[in-house]
């Protein structure tokens, strides 16, 4: 499903954020990506979303060579991904309902369908009552859950979640993780970037550990690796 071959990414400043990464993720896998702050996890997600293009190497997602995608083909490609951004990236001017509904509108889902889907996915993340609020009127954790709702509403074949529980209390975090596991069980390939040692250790999934732009460990049913 997701294949990275010798992928490197250098920003204009500083040392490369990703350094010759190779990685295979099968369809239907659930993968945690962990690592120090600044180790390149978000950069990896951005490459998969084609927000960035790799400096070198090849990225193939779902038989698509992401690096070579023509501009006009990018939207269609992205619609196959659901993404929770580390900084949420909600549309400031629109309320919760519209933020989530937007993901469906671009798929031209009939309005009647949208009116059903949005409330149901909002109650999945525990925000049924807040559908009218603007992002700025939400707490940090609430915004994060809106971002998640938007990512999963289209039931995309691939879900990329960058730190989806960073602003959530343990109970909420667990619920979200269970939700992601459920979505994974229904066939979605899930990549979760997280710092939550407790959850990683408990869930016994594949864990990829990054450090300074390289993959230092890839465990099948792994846990959070502490350095010291």
């Amino acid at each position: 499903m997701i294949i990275l071959e010798d992928v490197s990414k250098s920003y204009s400043t500083g040392s490369p954020a990703l350094n010759n990464i190779s990685l295979h993720v099968e369809k239907g896998e659930f993968v945690f990506i962990v690592g120090d702050s600044g180790s390149g996890k978000s950069t990896l997600i951005k490459l998969l979303l084609r927000e960035l293009t790799p400096t070198s190497g090849k990225i193939i997602v779902n038989h698509t060579d992401v690096g070579k995608l023509r501009h006009s083909k990018i939207p269609k490609y992205r619609r196959g991904l659901g993404v929770v951004f580390q900084d949420f990236r909600l549309l400031k001017d629109r309320n919760v309902y519209e933020n989530v509904a937007f993901a469906q509108r671009i798929l031209a889902v009939p309005v009647r369908q949208i009116r059903k889907n949005v409330p149901s996915v909002l109650s999945l993340v525990g925000l049924a009552e807040k559908y009218k609020s603007r992002p700025r009127e939400l707490s940090g954790g609430e915004q994060q859950r809106v971002a998640l709702a938007r990512a999963i509403i289209n039931k995309p074949p691939i879900l990329l979640a960058d730190e989806p529980t960073g602003n959530l209390d343990p109970k909420n975090s667990w619920e979200i993780m269970k939700l992601l596991e459920q979505i994974n069980k229904n066939g979605t390939t899930v990549l979760v970037v997280t710092h939550n040692r407790e959850i990683v250790n408990a869930m016994q999934k594949r864990v990829i550990t990054m450090k300074k732009g390289i993959i230092v460990s890839d465990q099948k049913k792994g846990g959070y690796i502490d350095e010291d």
Binding site: E51, P75, Y77, V83, F102, I106, V111
Partner: protein, 299 residues
């Protein structure tokens, strides 16, 4: 496109205006100001060149006849002259009339010294008015060729000056209008672009979620055109009202200049101004939002 998508897009365009109030206001204000200025100067310039053009029609070429010519022949000549395209009016002045007006205009109270003589006997003539003073030379050549015409009196200097003033005004007017147009286009596209640039983050988010360029751009383009429409309409209404009041005021205040101040009707002005204003507003609203949105779509 689904019908619901169409209405959604339209709705988003309208909502964008509201969501981005400050910029919408600024954009409408800028467009209004530009269209207003443009319209105002267009009206002034148009009236001005109209006034100058009218001034030319006051200049006449005078034709005197051979001595002892018959009235019939004079009549015939007159008919022929009035057929010319550049001739707007032709007036017969009898010898007596000529002397009377000559006395009045030139001799003041000193007229008595001439007694009852008419030094201008045999000086009946045609005054020929033209609608294009720059054709005077042509006309004179033609008149001089007519059988029975003794002499043609023209005022070459006045004609030359008027022709020059005319084309001077033409050049200056064109310059003003072009500069105003350029400045307007520049300022309007500027604000439209700014209004969209502040939302480049939003555009980026939409694109990252997988929206096509079209879906992202359409509401912005609709927004731009609506703002353009509003921004162009307001000053047109203002000009409509202000123009008519000003014309009435000026005509009243400057009764002396009655013959000079022949104002154009608002309809003559609007026939060009309305389309130009709408193109300025809606067209630049469209182009500005289209191109600016595209610039930020490369995500």
């Amino acid at each position: 496109m689904r019908i619901s998508t169409f209405f959604y897009t339209l709705g988003q365009g309208i909502k964008n205006i509201w969501r981005n109030k400050i910029f919408s206001l600024a954009t409408v204000a800028t467009i209004s100001a530009c269209v207003f200025l443009f319209g105002m100067f267009y009206a002034i310039v148009l009236n001005f060149s109209n006034i100058v053009r009218q001034a030319q029609s006051g200049v006449a070429v005078t034709v005197f006849f051979d001595e002892g010519i018959s009235d019939d022949k004079i009549q015939e000549i007159g008919t022929e002259i009035s057929k010319r395209a550049e001739v707007s009016k032709i007036v017969f002045v009898s010898a007596e009339e000529a002397w009377e007006s000559f006395k009045q205009e030139n001799l003041g109270d000193y007229v008595d010294s001439f007694g009852d003589d008419n030094p201008l006997a045999e000086d009946s003539n045609y005054e020929i008015y033209m609608n294009d003073i720059s054709m005077q030379e042509n006309l004179v050549t033609y008149l001089e060729g007519i059988d029975g015409v003794r002499i043609v009196r023209k005022s070459a200097i006045v004609a030359n000056m008027l022709t020059s003033v005319n084309s001077l005004i033409g050049i200056v007017s064109l310059g003003i209008i072009l500069i105003l147009l350029a400045v307007s286009i520049f300022l309007i596209s500027n604000t439209v672009a700014l209004g969209i640039t502040v939302r480049r983050e939003e555009i980026g988010i939409m694109k990252l979620i997988g929206a096509t360029d079209f879906v992202v751009r359409a509401p912005f383009v609709i927004e731009g055109m609506l703002l353009g429409l509003i921004g162009a309409s307001l000053p047109l209404v203002a000009i409509y009202v202000i123009y008519q009041r000003t014309v009435i005021y000026l005509a009243d205040r400057f009764k002396v200049l009655d013959s000079l101040l022949q104002f154009l009707s608002i309809h003559q002005i609007f026939s060009t101004l309305v389309p130009v204003a709408l193109i300025l507003g809606v067209g630049i609203g469209f182009l500005g939002s289209f191109t600016t949105a595209r610039k930020h779509l490369r995500v």
